[in-house]
């Protein structure tokens, strides 16, 4: 018996669930089309025009795609359970709250990881254009996975807070956008001019994009790994707390 009793069963049910309904396939198709379009489009990534053996155009698009699509994956994880009453069934089984919560989180994260895996042909396309740095590509994909986990944790916390999937989605997108925007130079300038340099630094340190960018440049720093771990675990803990308090309402 552990703090994570029930994790296996919940993980298996959730992960299989993505492939037993059309929603999972629809997500994959939208994700592949959106990431492909933003990567090769003449208005955005210009992957083919630049003819560089680099996945920068692809990695630049990912945070923007994730702010919409990851909350879409997260929105049903708890709000649907609360709406149908299945949360009462689940949490009266011999499973712990962390076991159930992490089972769902890892299932959603694995699904996002699987979707990312389907984009790897773009990396092999880069090899046809020259001699790409596979180390940078690997850390870039690692960054995508970490960013997906961070956004998923935000979306799940909002899903735990409401019975409505639509509300969970809107709040999830808003949360993800916030942690995306505070990393942009323009936003940091505004924050700096209003609140001063210290707040600007704090805001920059909370930016998912800043840490993500360093990984796409091939820099795997302890600070970056610590940020993603702390950020994701913090949102997971907040989600569990919210669920524990609101599950019966």
């Amino acid at each position: 018996m552990s703090r994570f009793t029930g994790f296996d069963a919940v993980f298996r049910r959730e992960f299989q669930g993505y492939f037993s309904s059309p929603l999972g396939y629809i997500f994959i198709v939208i994700f592949l089309v959106a990431s492909g379009y933003l990567t090769v489009s003449r208005d955005f990534g210009r992957f083919l025009e630049l003819r560089q053996a680099s996945l920068d155009p692809f990695f630049s698009a990912i945070p923007w795609i994730f702010v919409v699509l990851v909350p879409a994956v997260a929105m049903r994880l708890w709000s649907e359970e609360r709406k149908t009453g299945a949360v009462e069934l689940l949490l009266t089984l011999p499973v712990t709250l962390p076991g159930a919560y992490l089972g769902k989180f890892i299932a959603g994260w694995s699904f996002l990881g699987f979707s990312l895996l389907l984009t790897t042909p773009v990396a092999f396309q880069a090899e046809r254009l020259g001699n790409p740095d596979w180390g940078v590509i690997a850390t870039g994909y690692f960054g995508c996975l970490l960013a997906a986990g961070a956004y998923l944790a935000i979306g799940m916390a909002f899903s735990a807070a409401t019975r409505s999937q639509v509300v969970a989605f809107i709040l999830g997108v808003a949360g993800c956008v916030l942690f995306l925007l505070i990393g942009l130079p323009q936003t940091q300038q505004v924050i700096g001019s209003i609140f001063g340099g210290y707040v600007e630094q704090v805001a920059a340190s909370l930016s998912v994009v800043d840490h993500f960018d360093s990984l796409t440049r091939g820099l795997v720093q302890l600070g970056t790994l610590f940020f993603f771990a702390a950020f994701t675990l913090g949102w997971l803990a907040a989600g569990m707390l919210v669920l524990d308090r609101t599950k019966a309402s």
Partner: protein, 309 residues
């Protein structure tokens, strides 16, 4: 010798904001008991069941299941409970078999295939086992809920309105199943159907405004019903002198006239005074004499009046 104590509920209290949803409920359920949980809507039945199953924590009080305290050994306690929650929630996108497989995995049932086959047969789900739950009728969905509650052969069954929405045949099937399971388990079931409590339960409690008003056997409850042992008499000529004579008997509280030819004799002590009444009716043309047992619904109404709107 008293049978094994499986549910021990002591002084449960739960507030929702300023509302005291459950107010100091205590009761015990032993192996072989089927306890009916009766009460109007909003009485606190579901809240109490949610605390017994560990879904929510009480503000005060304790729940022990098969000797395991729900607060300190929640997983051990929950392993011993089969719970059918209100409206039988399930994962609608799963097939019946897939759903039962998930429950068996979450409960770490050793031989899941055998356990699933057994509950599918017990609850009559064979015909729909490969159908998705969303496509099932309300009756079948409830049976799926019952099947998941039974899959690990628990010692304790908590059933929140198990026959709600079932047709008479399905009701009879579920009630029969509960009666069959009763010998080896402790069962708590909430119901609005008072006939059901009378048929299936060997004990019943009535809850109103979060408080436990009465805890008794169905017979004991009937004895408290307003019409218990009232004798309903219909005679050819209910003359005033006859009513007066009956009314003067020490065991008679009052005689209530009922239409042209009938009257009800209400006993003073709630006892059966038919043997004393019959000699007083000698020489009269009697159409009918009926000793009323009393009715659950009358007792229910009299005890919970004004609570359910």
């Amino acid at each position: 010798m008293a049978s094994e104590l499986l549910i021990d509920v002591r002084d449960l209290v739960k507030h929702y904001g300023a509302i005291r949803a459950v107010d100091g409920i205590s009761f015990q359920v032993r192996r072989g008991d089927v306890l009916g949980f009766l009460g109007p809507n909003g009485a606190g039945k579901t809240t109490a069941m949610r605390m017994i199953t560990g879904f929510i924590e009480p503000d005060r009080g304790s729940v022990s299941v098969a000797g395991f305290d729900m607060a300190r050994h929640s997983l051990e306690a929950r392993r011993r409970i089969g719970y059918l929650a209100e409206n039988a929630p399930a994962y609608g996108e799963m097939t019946v078999r897939g759903f039962l497989g998930f429950i068996a995995a979450a409960r770490a049932v050793d031989d899941a295939e055998t356990a699933i086959a057994k509950v599918v047969t017990m609850t009559g789900l064979r015909r729909v086992e490969h159908q998705t739950i969303d496509t099932l009728s309300k009756g079948y969905k409830r049976r799926v809920g019952l099947a998941q509650a039974l899959i690990h052969d628990p010692e304790v069954l908590i059933l929140d309105e198990p026959t709600d929405g079932l047709d008479p045949n399905q009701k009879a099937l579920v009630q029969g199943l509960i009666s069959k399971l009763a010998e080896e388990k402790a069962i708590v079931l909430s119901t609005h159907i008072l006939d059901e409590a009378e048929k299936v339960c060997n004990r019943a409690v009535i809850i109103s405004e979060g408080r436990l008003l009465v805890d008794s056997t169905p017979e004991g409850l009937l004895a408290r019903a307003p019409n218990h042992n009232v004798i309903r008499v219909t005679v050819e000529d209910p003359a005033e002198d006859l009513i007066m004579v009956i009314g003067e008997q020490a065991w008679c509280r009052t005689v209530v006239r009922r239409g042209e030819s009938g009257f009800d004799v209400v006993p003073a002590d709630g006892g059966n005074h038919l043997p004393e009444l019959l000699p007083l009716l000698e020489g009269r043309i009697i159409h009918s004499v009926h000793l009323q047992e009393g009715r659950f619904d009358e007792l229910f109404r009299s005890m919970t009046q004004g609570v359910s709107a």
